[in-house]
């Protein structure tokens, strides 16, 4: 039975490799960009001053979409909280505590991992990565905190405050773009700076940091909600 299962797995793996190989073999890159893409590719670096073209598209040209995505994430976390609402959030199941080494290591590593999360979203306009990715790493420190140290000490309040403040600032910067520059979420309310340095690309680093904080807070809220409810069922 076991051998059967494993051989099926192997065959599947082989099949997927074969498919991937076929896809790769028949792949020919398109030589010309379509109109929108050409506009972004040609004008993007000059207009926004961001070294990472994807970022300038996501934050400036498609800034409204990003706002929508963050809002969807907020809705998801709110709905999860609503659906999983229990009478009292605390759990009373007998648990095996983490070992002492795990707790110490978590205390040591949490600041470092947060720093790397911040690094990812602050440099979003220069390197691959950005607000969503950095926010996910920030949220992963919450998982570490949750499974190693404590369950009840983490403040919902702080998370909600962070989330609300960063979301509000995001919209405010967008409106500032309408007043001071060409349109909603235009990044040129600040100077575009030297190409390729940290303080370049106008408001993009600030917007991306806000997105990162918001995403991190929202994902952490989801993790907290799931954790609090899970205790009720076992």
């Amino acid at each position: 039975m076991k051998i059967l299962k494993n051989s099926i797995l192997l065959v599947l793996l082989g099949f997927m490799t074969w498919m991937l190989f076929n896809l790769y073999k028949d792949y020919d890159s398109r030589d010309t960009l379509n109109d929108t893409a050409r506009y972004y590719a040609e004008k993007g670096p000059d207009e926004t001053g961001a070294a990472n073209l994807v970022t300038s598209v996501v934050v400036t040209y498609r800034g409204l979409d990003t706002l929508g995505e963050v809002t969807i994430l907020f809705l998801v976390s709110a709905i999860i909280g609503l659906l999983l609402k229990t009478e009292n959030g605390t759990r009373k199941t007998a648990m095996r505590a983490s070992s002492e080494f795990m707790i110490t290591a978590a205390k040591l590593l949490i600041p470092m991992i947060s720093l790397i999360g911040v690094y990812i979203f602050v440099n979003g306009h220069l390197t691959p990565g950005g607000g969503f990715q950095g926010g996910a790493i920030l949220a992963s420190t919450f998982i570490l905190l949750l499974i190693s140290i404590s369950r009840n000490k983490i403040g919902h309040k702080v998370l909600e405050l962070t989330e609300a403040l960063s979301g509000l600032s995001f919209v405010l910067i967008g409106i500032l773009g309408v007043i001071l520059a060409a349109g909603f979420l235009d990044n040129k309310i600040l100077g575009t700076g030297t190409f390729g340095s940290l303080l370049s690309a106008g408001a993009i680093p600030i917007i991306y940091s806000l997105i990162g904080l918001k995403v991190g807070a929202e994902l952490s809220t989801i993790i907290l909600e799931l954790n609090q409810v899970q205790g009720k069922e076992d």
Partner: protein, 86 residues
């Protein structure tokens, strides 16, 4: 010269990947599979950095840092889940 030696290293890492995947498949217990996964992820860090050299992309080092963090947290979570104490 340098690239030849590094290609051999890449081959050896690929071979060890295959061996670890064999352990992952025969398993016996879930914990055995997790141990294999742990070994696999740590070697992947080395593999990504080797790729960074071959493709000459400095940015892959950032990728491997993030990969190291996420795989560490992943292994810890699976281990805690095994203990039924998540």
């Amino acid at each position: 010269m340098v690239n030849t030696i590094l290609s051999i290293a890449l081959l050896i890492i690929g071979l060890s990947f295959l061996l670890v995947i064999v352990r992952f498949l025969i398993g016996k217990s879930v914990a055995d599979r997790v141990v294999a996964l742990d070994a696999l992820t740590i070697s992947t860090i080395g593999l990504i950095v080797l790729l960074a050299h071959f493709l000459d992309r400095k940015i892959y080092i950032d990728v491997s840092i993030v990969y190291a963090i996420l795989s560490f947290i992943g292994v810890i979570i699976v281990a805690k889940y095994l203990e039924k104490s998540l």
